[in-house]
């Protein structure tokens, strides 16, 4: 029997180039462009008729261009709160999910608490946290972490249990240790679920940070503070400039998750194209 050549890896450079070429085709981007143009037209029309509902797009752009430093500094403040919260919340959720999936006792103890925590509105907790932790970065990080925690916990716990019974049986017939089952079966099986949660939670962490900033408005940096103060002064262009920054940040965060997901989960059916 002759030595056969290695089968090619799933996605060689040529295939990637083809994907990019396909993405640049007008068929792909033109609908988005048209929708954006329509939205802009509607916006300008409304802005001209009632300037207290929407500021003119031009004035928002002017506002951004006039003081880019202000928006950069505050966007960075909000983003770092959100990212720190994400990291802490997701790490804690992952650890708890593993503990809960390995021990029935822990599951019974922890899950009701987690559910209670989840059904309590974060908006209500935020002021209390500001009282507790002061006007620094800590309460914002905690609120962002809280918004992250529950979705990641639930999805990871479900994912860790998603190993098919027959696969577990095969591993049991060779007396695989719990550790082997956890690391070689449960972790990889949970990944699609974890990413599904991250896709929700990455943009959501911004909401957490903003809500916390609202609760301590005026005393701290962040786009939330800018929005709150500007809205009180009816500076709609400032409000919308900040909202634009937030939308952009959310989109970027989502892009990061989906890009990483595409790499890590290339084997999963959700990534089939």
């Amino acid at each position: 029997m002759s030595l056969q050549p290695r089968a090619p890896r799933p996605r060689p450079a040529a295939a990637r180039a083809r994907t990019w070429a396909a993405a640049l085709h007008p068929r792909v981007w033109s609908p988005t462009l048209v929708a954006l143009a329509v939205a802009a037209a509607v916006w300008s029309w409304v802005a001209r008729r009632s300037p207290y509902v929407l500021p003119a797009p031009g004035s928002v752009v002017e506002q951004l261009a006039g003081d880019p430093g202000l928006y950069l500094v505050n966007a960075w403040a909000t983003l770092s709160e959100a990212l720190l919260g994400l990291a802490a919340g997701a790490a804690a959720a992952f650890a708890v999910a593993v503990a809960v999936s390995e021990s029935v006792l822990l599951r019974r103890a922890v899950m009701p608490l987690a559910v209670v925590l989840n059904v309590t509105p974060v908006v209500a907790i935020a002021p209390a946290l500001v009282v507790a932790f002061g006007f620094g970065i800590l309460p914002k990080v905690v609120v962002a972490a809280l918004t992250t925690f529950f979705p990641v916990l639930m999805n990871t716990a479900t994912g860790l249990r998603s190993v098919p019974r027959e696969v577990l049986q095969v591993f049991r017939t060779v007396h695989a240790s719990r550790w082997d089952v956890l690391v070689r079966l449960r972790f990889p099986s949970a990944l699609p679920f974890v990413f599904a949660a991250l896709r929700v939670v990455f943009p959501l962490s911004l909401v957490g940070a903003i809500v916390a900033e609202f609760s301590a408005a005026g005393a701290t940096a962040g786009l939330g503070t800018i929005i709150k103060v500007a809205a009180a002064n009816s500076q709609l262009d400032r409000v919308f400039a900040s909202i634009g920054c937030l939308a952009l940040m959310g989109a970027l965060l989502l892009l990061v998750v989906t890009t990483v997901e595409r790499r890590v989960l290339s084997w999963h059916s959700s990534q089939a194209r």
Binding site: M1, Q4, R6, A7, R9, P10, P164, E166, V167, Q169, V170, F171, R172, T173, V174, H175, A176, S177, D180, R184, L185, P188, L191, W267, H268, S269, A272
Partner: protein, 285 residues
């Protein structure tokens, strides 16, 4: 004493003695196995056939150590299934391929190597070092080539046909170099043509490795083509109705499928099945 039995076990390498298994299915009790005996000599290919629900999978799970019998005992090479699992003596091929979708074919075949590494240190394996087993046994790539998977070593399960997936699962079990190979209807989901090809590839590999096999199937032809002995089970409650020794020369090839000798054996298995069916219908239903 255990070691002695391990050497002198030509009689029963896999032995199930007087095993009973009852499931609590809500208010009802389902007797899956009723005083079942099974003896498989070393190096034999034994098929278990019977109607759906007669306890074939249950029997296999008992031998694999995935479940305990309510009474009776199971021995593999003189050891309990739990001991056998600790020593990685048992290869298991479930009804679905049960591959890991994030690993490629070769990765799937090798993954069991990496778990329970202590097994190799846990004691001598009587037949593992048999000299004629060398070239296929220790080499997953050679094994996969022989099973017709040489071209797809680095593909993921999602990119394989059903037949390829099932053969990968079989390669994974053979790669363990197990003392006993347990297969639960591995080909039942395949179309006729793919199934025949897979059967012949399995025969080809088995011819060389001569692992002791317990093979559960629904197909009479498959049972006769592959095995040395066909164990016929009957349902309600699950029990052994009889056995048919298959006296066909090895190595067996595809031409055999049309032969009178094969049909003759099929006929005997079918007779046993139907007489057990009528006996069961008279007594139980």
């Amino acid at each position: 004493m255990v070691e002695q039995r391990a050497d002198g076990d030509e009689q029963a390498f896999v032995a199930v003695r007087d095993a009973c298994k009852v499931y609590d299915d809500g208010p009802r009790h389902v007797t899956a196995l009723h005083h079942v005996d099974l003896e498989v000599p070393r190096g034999r290919f034994v098929s278990v056939i019977g109607p759906s629900g007669c306890g074939k999978s249950t029997l296999l799970r008992l031998v694999a150590g995935l479940e305990e019998p309510d009474s009776g005992e199971v021995r593999i090479c003189g050891r309990t299934p739990a001991h056998a699992a600790e020593r990685k003596m048992v290869g298991f091929v479930p009804q679905t391929p049960a591959l890991l979708p994030w690993l490629d074919v070769l990765g799937n075949v090798r993954v069991l190597e990496k778990v329970n590494r202590a097994a190799r240190r846990r004691g001598p394996e009587p037949s593992r070092a048999a000299p004629e087993r060398c070239d296929l046994a220790g080499d997953p790539v050679a094994l996969l080539r022989r099973l017709g998977l040489g071209e797809v070593l680095h593909r993921r399960p999602g990119q394989l046909s059903g037949g390829m997936q099932q053969r990968t699962a079989i390669a994974r079990a053979f790669a363990l170099q197990p003392q006993v190979l347990l297969m639960d209807e591995p080909f039942s989901a395949l179309d006729e043509f793919t199934r025949e090809a897979a059967q012949l590839q399995l025969l080809d590999v088995w011819q060389e490795l001569r692992t002791t096999v317990v093979f559960v199937t629904h197909s009479i032809t498959e049972a006769v083509l592959l095995s040395d002995t066909v164990v016929v089970m009957a349902a309600g409650p699950g029990r052994v109705a009889g056995t048919v020794d298959v006296l066909l020369d090895r190595p067996r090839r595809s031409g055999l499928l049309d032969s009178a000798a094969l049909h003759e054996h099929e006929h005997r298995v079918r007779e046993l099945l139907s007489s057990a069916w009528h006996a069961g219908a008279g007594a139980g239903r």
